[in-house]
């Protein structure tokens, strides 16, 4: 009786594992085929670099929020597979001298701690690139 019960459990588990493996392979192949034959637009990546020209003086919060948005969108869309994502190029009529941007800040998104590193941000200039480094989980402001 005990032997039969063990056989039943064994059979069940083997069936379950086999089904899951076969179905997973099927899904992976299906996704590959869909991706391979789908019509691809000329523009690549999940997000085009957004260029913003600002005529007025912007705030620290505005730049920091764009940095956070860059990280959020990159994580949400698996864009991080490419290593880093260049999200925004901001240039302004005014210099960024009035901006007291924090040296390093951090926030949490989807259980990940994301750093915002502005050490390379030169506020004497009037332009900056906002880049998300997926491996370091850090948003950089570069200019």
């Amino acid at each position: 009786m005990k032997g039969i019960a063990i056989n039943i459990v064994f059979l069940f588990i083997m069936g379950l594992i086999a089904t899951i493996i076969v179905a997973s392979i099927y899904l992976a192949i299906k996704n590959f085929v869909i991706d391979y034959f789908s019509e691809k637009p000329q523009t690549k990546k999940f997000k085009e670099l957004e260029v913003k020209y600002l005529e007025y003086q912007i705030s620290e919060s505005f730049l920091m929020e764009l940095g956070k948005q860059c990280a959020r969108e990159s994580i949400d869309n698996y864009a991080c597979l490419n290593g880093y994502v260049v999200c925004y190029y901001i240039y302004s009529k005014h210099s960024f001298q009035n901006l007291a941007i924090p040296y390093v800040d951090e926030f949490s998104y989807k259980n990940k701690t994301i750093l915002i590193d502005t050490r390379n941000f030169d506020n004497n200039k009037n332009n900056t690139l906002i880049v998300f480094d997926c491996n370091q989980k850090t948003v950089y402001f570069l200019n």
Partner: protein, 176 residues
């Protein structure tokens, strides 16, 4: 002979049950499995510039809108409606993390456009009787649903305004 037939029947029934259970698990977790195997592993091994559609988030996306308005009231009205829309959207999707709903550019608006937080509160008072969005600090309702974080406190022509839902505070932050 009969014993073998019964055993075979049981064998098939158990295999059938395990397949049904296995398929149910796969179907229930299909999206996550696809994302795990394809979006995480496959694309890591064979990196591609193109992110497939099903690897993109299916949660609401930030919309970038250009505001066109012939006069001051129309500009405030459009602005306020996007704020209200963000408020409702985050409630509907039960958003648990900070989320940027809209990026508004006051593109084609009167040259002398100047929207203040008081203008916004007046709009919510006059058109919604402070029922939806409340701004207690400006005598509209009993809560402060809006955080006004705008440089020089005024939104001008050409301004880009971010409408962000702050999950922890359960408020909408206006950033410019």
């Amino acid at each position: 002979m009969k014993g073998i037939a019964v055993e075979t029947t049981w064998f098939f029934i158990i295999i059938l049950i395990s397949i049904v259970v296995g398929l149910s698990i796969i179907l229930a977790l299909r999206e996550r499995i696809s994302q795990f195997f394809y979006c995480n592993l496959y694309l890591k091994i064979f990196p591609t510039q193109q992110i497939p559609e099903f690897c993109k988030s299916n949660q609401p996306k930030t919309e970038r809108i250009k505001i066109f308005a012939n006069n001051h009231l129309e500009a405030i009205s459009k602005f306020a409606e996007y704020i209200l829309d963000c408020w409702k959207l985050t409630e509907k999707y039960k958003v648990k993390e900070d989320y940027m709903c809209y990026e508004l550019e006051f593109f084609s608006v009167p040259d002398d456009l100047a929207i203040s937080v008081e203008d916004l509160s007046k709009y919510f008072k006059n058109y919604y009787n402070c029922q939806e969005i409340q701004m207690k600090s400006y005598n509209c309702g009993y809560r402060d649903d809006i955080i006004w974080n705008v440089k020089n406190d005024i939104i001008l022509k050409g301004s880009i305004v971010l409408i962000v839902y702050r999950a922890e505070e359960d408020k909408i932050e206006i950033i410019s």
